[in-house]
């Protein structure tokens, strides 16, 4: 019972992990390259969600500190890190998609299995 209460308390971590597994599974098992890239983004986003959720504190405000006012504020560092992470994920996605465009031009398909068949014919 303890584990269930812990999970309901920290349901945002659970959601992030489920998303991560969905992303990873799709990325490794689907043969469509566009789907692979989308799955890669789902996986990255799930990690970002988890990272940002670490900074959450119940009833906390945005971390704007003024003299003399004592507030409970959320940890700003994970958010700052994840902005960098998002930029990195965007550039990887752009690069992956540009490779897919070139692959589509030379193989006329974006399906990994079909490409394998084409290559075995060579």
């Amino acid at each position: 019972m303890e584990i269930i209460s812990r999970l309901t308390e920290n349901y945002f971590y659970l959601v992030a992990v489920i998303l991560f597994v969905i992303g990873m599974h799709t990325m490794l098992t689907h043969s469509n390259m566009i789907k692979k890239v989308i799955a890669m983004n789902i996986m990255d986003s799930s990690v970002f969600l988890l990272f940002v959720a670490i900074g959450y504190r119940h009833g906390a405000q945005a971390p704007i500190i003024r003299e003399g006012v004592d507030i409970v504020y959320a940890n700003p560092l994970p958010g700052a890190l994840i902005v960098t992470g998002i930029v990195v994920a965007v550039s990887v996605t752009a690069y992956a998609l540009s490779i897919i465009v070139k692959i589509q031009r030379s193989y006329e398909t974006v399906d990994c299995d079909e490409i394998c068949e084409l290559r075995s014919e060579d």
Partner: protein, 492 residues
Amino acid sequence: MESAGHQPVLIIVLLLISAFIAPLLYRRWRFLSGAVVLAALTGSFITALLLLSKSGASSSLSYHLGNWPPPWGIELIIDPLRVYMLLVVTGVSLWIFIYALGDLKHELHNDVIGWYYSLYAVLVASMSAITLTNDLFNLFVLMEICAITACAIITIKDQRECLEAGFKYLIMSAMGTGCFLLGVAMIYMVTGYLNYSFIQSELSLALTDYPLNIFTAAALFIVAFGTKAALFPLHVWLPDAHAAAPSPSSAMLSGLVIKIYAFALFMIFYRVFPRSLLDTIPLNEIILWLGAMGVMFGSIYAMLQTDLKKMLAYSSISQIAFIFMGIGLDQPLALTGGLYHIMVHAFTKSTLFMSAGAIIYSTGVRRISDLGGIGKVLPLPLFAFTIGSASMIGLPGTGGLISKWYLALGTLETGRILFLLVILASSLLNAIYYMPIVINAFMSGEEFKEKVKIVPLSMQVTLAAGMILVVISGIFSRQVIIFFEQALTSLY
């Protein structure tokens, strides 16, 4: 710790600036473009040498980026092991770049060579930064830069095999970095730090309160670095990627890029995880078994290949596994062997890929069975190939002997005879697939029929340098081994 001046960051900045200028210069003054990157690589190598003389074999220096002290800012650390890796990275990449200057005109379209120089400089910059950084999130960003540029120097060759291999590599490394970032999140959750040194002191306390988080993080790190460094069951992307790439890229990827991740895993094990964690769960044992399987299977797969570069790529899987075995045995002598193997394999495999590249450049032959009698028409590349093969097998007088010797001593010291047998068996297997090529090339009666182009001077010089480096690392190893002995005492 005393301050290091601005030299650590200078290495990275020099390379990044040259990466920015090179493609611009290439539009008008093609000659200058290569010279700028060459100068930046030379500059970073010299700076690394200066850092070595500053830090010596036992002290360490720390550099705070933007003058923000840790744990808030990013910290670069210069300690003996990192300086060693930095020297290997900058030195070997300078050497491969001279080869690339000769080979690229043949491998790539003329318009993209400027971009290749740029990617090359960014790749070296990211690898140098990975060796120096002392911050987990910084490591994540650098790993992504390294992954993108490493893929880009494969896909820049506009052939469909390269594109497909590059895509596979990109997806696998994206999975690796995803796992890594999840692991970092787990660690950050329980410690609140991203700096290696702060995490290490905090983790030994957190281990009793939140063991599950830390175990998950450790597992994720092994998957992440295993994927990126092609540790045995996660190696599937490597053969295609390394075989399809242009020859200088193959030399770079097999010689340095996979090792940088092995080194990063080593750093995580000994600089981030406290000793108590390594004693609680058998992390080293897992790495050791995976490494031993990689050594065997890599060699067995390599024997089955008909394509020369593909054979070399599979051989890389077995050789990188030696480095992991060094980490897995968790013992100073074995670690010495593993770390020395980083340098030896960088020299050896780069020489082998370069001579394969020279063979493809001048004859266009890639199949192993078509190489009969080629030694008479291309003596220098095949002689370099012979020296490289000798080092792969571990014959006396080459660097391969020294690293395998110390690994074997490590297995004896810990009493794991099984792994000694693995090392010996792999040497035999290496002999089985390298020696027939050499014998066939020099001693077969048949004449080599294909047309032969003359190998450019820059490629000949680097091949000769490669032979010399492999032999030097085999004969004058004493200094480096003593250096390791002093450096590794800080870990135990």
